[in-house]
């Protein structure tokens, strides 16, 4: 059985509609008017033990709301969530024993105390056996480079240091599932890389299931094998990351250094993304043309000095999807995803 099973999950928030003026204020007090807003709309997925899943979507797509329901912080309006055989919303504390969670920059560490004191308390709370605790502490200290931080007070740590300690705290009790909601927000590249590597290492060793939401799609590129793409509360893609890229990212971006531009450049099978005196950025699909043909075409307009090509990245593809380029995503994959 899947470790996480989500069926027809819906969350509708009730928002009090504010009325203007003093009379409105009292009206609200006596009989508030509610407006409903569906943040998560009939979501289905199932996740197997050990999967690394990127849960992505634009701001306000409903990612955090979903994760809050998976952790039992929020009661679903309708639908079912089963995590590790239990319903988190009904057996919250039982469920908490199996999971770890990071929500943005909020810390679960005790602000005024040295980091190690928080770790000890976590050990006690989760009843982590002494030898497990020692082993994990040693390994995490190495992987996340915590040696010098452990004796420092949390409030004196920088954001990057705090986040490294936070990640260690989250994995300390060997949770079966870890939810990471925007764990890398505001961090520099080096800390991000450390955290990504840590997640992958632990996943490989302990088969920890990880669900990750993030703004930085490099996190997803690096860590996740599978993505679930959410748009306005609905899943529009669920499947392997590579397949997603193959399907929607079958194009190449090429940057050319050119000179002597003679005319307005017009290309038949490629799109010009950027152009100035000596630089040309184009996009084309392997299905329609080849680089040789393109270069042939371009050389009619100018001299090519250099060329640099890159594959479409997740970020590029998603931008296009949000812009509505791949209108077929929704139609095709919303139906096919259940087969995955």
């Amino acid at each position: 059985m899947a470790i996480i099973e989500v069926k027809n999950l819906v969350k509708t928030y009730k928002i009090i509609e504010k009325e203007e003026g003093l009379i409105g204020y009292f009206k609200n007090l006596v009989k508030p008017k509610y407006k409903e807003f569906t943040a998560v709309n009939n979501v289905n997925f199932s996740i197997e033990k050990g999967e690394l899943v990127g849960y992505i979507g634009e701001n306000g797509a409903g990612k955090s709301t979903t994760i809050k329901m998976l952790t039992g912080l929020l009661t679903p309006t309708s639908g079912n969530v089963i995590v590790n055989g239990i319903i988190p919303n009904q057996k919250r504390i039982e469920n908490n024993k199996n999971i770890g969670a990071v929500f943005g920059q909020k810390t679960q560490l005790w602000w005024d105390l040295p980091v190690i004191e928080s770790f000890r308390l976590i050990k006690k709370m989760y009843k982590i056996p002494e030898n497990e605790y020692r082993k994990n502490l040693k390994k995490f200290t190495e992987l996340l480079d915590l040696e010098e931080l452990l004796e420092k007070q949390v409030k004196n740590l920088s954001l990057g240091q705090k986040m490294r300690c936070e990640i260690a705290a989250t994995f300390l009790h060997d949770p079966k599932i870890v939810y990471l909601d925007e764990p890398t927000i505001g961090l520099d590249v080096f800390v991000k890389e450390k955290i990504r590597k840590f997640i992958k290492d632990i996943n490989r060793e302990k088969k920890t299931t990880v669900i990750l939401t993030t703004h930085d799609l490099k996190d997803i590129e690096d860590v996740c094998d599978r993505i679930i793409l959410l748009d306005k509360g609905q899943i529009i893609y669920d499947g392997e990351k590579q397949k997603f890229k193959d399907t929607y990212g079958r194009y190449v971006i090429a940057e050319l250094i050119v000179n002597n531009i003679k005319d307005n450049i017009i290309l038949n099978n490629a799109e010009i993304l950027e152009q100035n005196d000596n630089k040309l950025k184009i996009k084309f699909s392997h299905d329609e043309t080849t680089i040789v043909k393109i270069m042939d075409e371009i050389s009619k307009f100018c001299n090519i000095e250099d060329i640099h090509m890159k594959e479409a990245e997740l970020e590029d593809i998603l931008k296009e999807i949000y812009k509505g380029v791949h209108t077929n995503v929704k139609n095709n994959d919303a139906t096919s995803k259940n087969a995955i």
Binding site: T65, G72, F103, W110
Partner: protein, 264 residues
């Protein structure tokens, strides 16, 4: 039973942690204790003035009233230290979103919250209460036996538990109003009713503080027992405490469920 022990030991760990946190702010702490002591001394002066004009209040003389005051302070001191973390729910946890973090622990959130209490100043209440109680027992010629001391400590802890349970019930409001502090505090102040014999109040308040919010079991009935005025009703106190906690936790859980379904 194992679960109870686990919870109590966790609670003690949290308290230990909060004690360490308090000690980081040593100066704040000392100033706090002194100002608290001064507040208490002012109410004592007030009582002294009252007794300049009257021999007794509701049949209680000055020493007896002071004993009642002392016993009240002991309970308030304990409950202040152990349960005042409940006032933080609105501003400290809900508003800041820290409550989520507490809900993600494998422990009942109440244990986390009351364990995170840091009202160390209430040690002033405790010490003042203890001193006053012993002095008044001597003045009233009540023999201060070990048994009596144990009895006083036991029923003071029970009293503190009663106050704690009542606080827990009132803390529910902070799920929806971040600034519930004032609301709770105003009810909290009702413990001051028990600094006087309940017979001075009208029927409504008497019923209120015996049955509905049983503050009378915190100090009034125990003190009656120590004075030999009514020796049996004191044994109801532990029952009241247990029932009250049962109700408080049930109500709190209901509120928590409601809170989780609205999405704060």
């Amino acid at each position: 039973m194992q679960k109870v022990i686990y919870n109590i030991s966790l609670y003690l760990s949290f308290l230990k942690i909060s004690l360490k946190e308090i000690l980081i702010y040593r100066i704040d702490c000392i100033v706090g204790i002194f100002s608290q002591l001064i507040v208490q001394l002012v109410s004592l002066v007030f009582m002294f003035v009252v007794f300049q004009n009257t021999e007794n209040i509701a049949g209680w003389n000055f020493q007896q009233i002071l004993l009642l005051f002392g016993i009240t302070r002991i309970s308030i001191g304990i409950s202040g230290y152990c349960f005042d973390g409940l006032y933080d729910i609105g501003p400290k946890y809900i508003k800041s979103g820290e409550f989520d973090k507490i809900l993600l622990r494998p422990v009942h959130p109440l244990i986390s919250i009351i364990g995170n209490s840091r009202e160390f100043v209430s040690i002033a209440d405790f010490i003042l209460g203890l001193v006053l109680t012993i002095v008044m027992l001597v003045q009233l010629a009540i023999p201060v036996t070990i048994l009596l001391i144990i009895k006083i400590l036991f029923f003071s802890i029970v009293g503190a538990l009663i106050i704690g349970a009542i606080n827990t019930i009132f803390s529910i409001s902070s799920f929806w109003t971040y600034r519930s502090n004032e609301v709770i505090w105003s009810f909290y102040r009702m413990y001051t009713f028990t600094e006087y014999p309940i017979t001075i109040y009208n029927k409504f308040i008497r019923i209120l503080i015996t049955i509905i919010l049983p503050f009378a079991f915190v100090a009034y009935y125990p003190t009656m027992a120590y004075l030999g005025l009514n020796t049996y009703i004191i044994y109801l106190s532990p029952v009241v405490a247990v029932v009250l906690w049962f109700v408080a936790v049930k109500l709190w859980n209901l509120a928590l469920n409601k809170y989780r379904s609205t999405g704060n």
